[in-house]
């Protein structure tokens, strides 16, 4: 029982990011970063970039393919550093997430999400925690309210970054029962500067 539940929390059979993986990070890194990621249920690619004249702000965009559900996930977010970076560094995100469901009855979904993230540590290694909340409106009569907690570690060696993130939470749906969600990904990124 316990191993199964632990496994479920790590690599849940029903995934979906419902917001970017990469943007859920406390410290906004100066410059640009291209990253690819993969997990048991999805693969994706993302781009993070700080503003030219204000490294405390940035944007991020991701494109993912859900292998299990055969759904395209797209997300983009604006990021703000909250306070001065230090041993504990905080950021906020406001973004949009969308889905393209090509099979069966074609469907589309889009909705906003917000997140608060904290990174504990430095540029080289940090422990990351984030909470995400969103709304998703489907063209076929469905509202979902995804709520997630994301935890993980980020490491940087030179221009290369490595992240291992896990995410768990629920989707709340009006007048229906909750859906438990869990997922994990490994991300490898390349910065355009050290």
């Amino acid at each position: 029982m316990k191993p199964t539940l632990a496994l479920a929390l790590l690599v849940g059979g029903l995934a979906h990011a419902e917001a970017g993986w990469l943007t859920a990070q406390g410290r906004i890194t100066e410059g640009a970063e291209l990253a690819v990621y993969g997990g048991p249920k999805s693969i994706g690619i993302g781009l993070l970039r700080s503003d030219n004249h204000n490294p405390g702000r940035g944007i991020g965009a991701e494109l993912a393919w859900s292998l299990a559900d055969r759904v395209v996930e797209v997300s983009a977010a604006r990021r703000w550093q909250l306070g001065e970076p230090g041993k504990a560094t905080f950021s906020g995100t406001v973004g949009l997430a969308g889905f393209i469901i090509p099979e069966g009855k074609f469907d589309l979904a889009l909705g906003p999400n917000v997140g608060i993230n904290a990174g504990f540590g430095g540029k080289a290694i940090s422990f990351e925690v984030g909470v995400l909340s969103g709304v998703e409106l489907f063209t076929r009569e469905l509202f979902r309210f995804p709520q997630r907690l994301q935890v993980g570690v980020r490491a940087q060696l030179g221009r290369v970054t490595l992240r291992l993130y896990g995410r768990a939470g629920v989707d709340l749906i009006l007048e229906r029962n909750y859906i438990l969600r869990a997922d994990a990904v490994l991300c490898v990124g390349l910065l355009n500067r050290q």
Binding site: M1, T4, L7, A8, G12, G13, L14, H16, W65, S66, A68, D69, R70, V71, V72, F99, I101, P102, E103, G104, K105, D107, A109, E136, F138, R140, L142, R144, D171, I173, E175, R176, N177, Y178, I179, L180
Partner: protein, 278 residues
């Protein structure tokens, strides 16, 4: 050909909606459907149905049951029950759940019902009477089945070795469909006293049927878990299965008839049964 492989990966092959199934035994076949639920999720439901020798469905419409697996028990372990009911003219849907835990996605059962009553072009077309779809479950699956029944759309509720969530007791006390709690007297997981107490939550018409000597896992295809924990059965597995099917059929036939009831007389005729109705 292979240059189209990336495109195939991105668009998939379309959702699996079979026109025929694999014959399990004379008169019964099985097919696995893919269907979309909760917006993005790709769900899989095993359908066991009355069939011809070539695996195509017999002419419907038939009554149906959406059956929810017990916790950590693969849905395939209820295929024997589904097969027996299909032989009696029922379509049985067994939705699959991540890690065999229906509590992860409770509403997979509702999505399975949607698949039955509004199917894509497939063997399910015209196969199910949309007004005669029951929901049932074993153990933890019974808890989930009760939650599904409260959402409406189901014509009957069947509990197997289970008791409802306390949060649902109020809703179940005003549920407008027939219900049956089918219990085993030798159940070492869902104690008979607890099941009996839980059955008090159900609104009339309802039946509590206790099968003498039956254990918790005799509701599945094997009693190995009972044996492992020295939980002794009073009847052999084959006998237990025959009585479970007889009671299930007696209840479902009556609950989804023109005058819905629990089928008290037919239930009392099941060997080794003690029936309490109200």
């Amino acid at each position: 050909m292979w240059r189209f492989a990336p495109l195939l990966l991105l668009t998939g092959c379309g959702l699996a909606s079979p026109r025929s199934g694999e014959v399990l035994s004379p008169g019964v076949a099985e097919a696995v459907f893919e269907h979309r639920g909760f917006g993005t999720d790709l769900l899989h439901t095993r359908i066991v149905f009355p069939a011809r020798d070539d695996g195509t469905p017999r002419t419907g419409p038939f009554p149906a049951v959406v059956f929810i697996q017990g916790g950590l028990v693969p849905e395939s372990r209820y295929r024997w029950w589904a097969e027996a009911l299909a032989r009696e003219g029922y379509v049985v849907a067994l939705p699959t759940h991540a890690f065999d835990l229906a509590i992860f996605t409770i509403d997979s059962g509702s999505e399975a019902r949607k698949l039955l009553v509004a199917p894509p072009p497939s063997l399910l077309t015209g196969l199910v009477d949309p007004n005669r779809v029951a929901v049932g479950g074993h153990s933890l699956g019974g808890v989930v089945a009760a939650k599904l029944s409260l959402q409406g759309g189901f014509a009957a509720l069947l509990f197997e070795a289970s008791l409802p969530d306390a949060a649902d007791e109020r809703g179940l006390s005003s549920l407008k469909v027939p219900s049956m709690s089918l219990a085993g007297s030798n159940d070492c997981s869902a104690a008979l006293a607890d099941v009996t107490e839980g059955a008090k939550s159900f609104a009339s018409p309802t039946a509590l049927v206790v099968l003498e000597g039956v254990t918790h896992y005799q509701f599945t295809d094997s009693e190995k878990e009972d044996v492992a924990r020295n939980c002794a059965a009073g009847v052999d597995l084959q006998t237990a299965h025959a009585r479970i099917v007889a009671a299930s059929k007696a209840f479902l036939d009556a609950a989804m008839s023109a005058r819905p009831n629990v089928g008290a007389d037919a239930l009392s005729a099941v060997p080794g049964s003690t029936v309490t109705t109200r």
